[in-house]
Symmetry: C2
Subunit: 85 residues, 2 copies
């Protein structure tokens, strides 16, 4: 059993209006020290696989087909093995 | 300048219908090895602070007041210092 921790974020060239809105909300709440905010998505996926390599391959294609929009977003992930239960 | 990487996720006791929907979508796309999925939010916040402790205190109150719903969600974060620009 493997656990993949996946981060999906906008590519740097893509405008992130949500991040800007959150930053403005922080300034309105007097958190004036905040300089920049970006929001992304975070997934934890538990999956069965024969090896860590196989799990990473699975996660790659899951991200490509479902979790990230390759035109606008980029993803990164860590896969770790869970202790057998 | 400090960078905070913040993860906001549902508390374990809270039902996560979005995670279940994503898992079902994966199964429909023949990723049958997937056992469980949870979705959370991920924020990167850059802020000015005098010290790492001060930055962590800021991030704590930002999470409490704005980024996480304390009834349903829990958060964790890492703060690291950015090289001076």
């Amino acid at each position: 059993m493997f656990l993949a921790q996946i981060h999906v974020t906008y590519k740097p060239s893509i405008l992130d209006p949500q991040g800007v809105a959150i930053k403005n909300a922080m300034h309105r709440l007097s958190f004036n020290e905040v300089d920049a905010v970006t929001q992304g998505k975070y997934f934890e996926v538990t999956l069965n696989a024969e090896s860590k390599d196989a799990a990473e391959q699975q996660i790659d294609s899951i991200c490509d087909t479902l979790l990230a929009n390759p035109n606008m977003e980029t993803y990164r992930y860590d896969v770790k093995e869970l202790a057998n239960q």
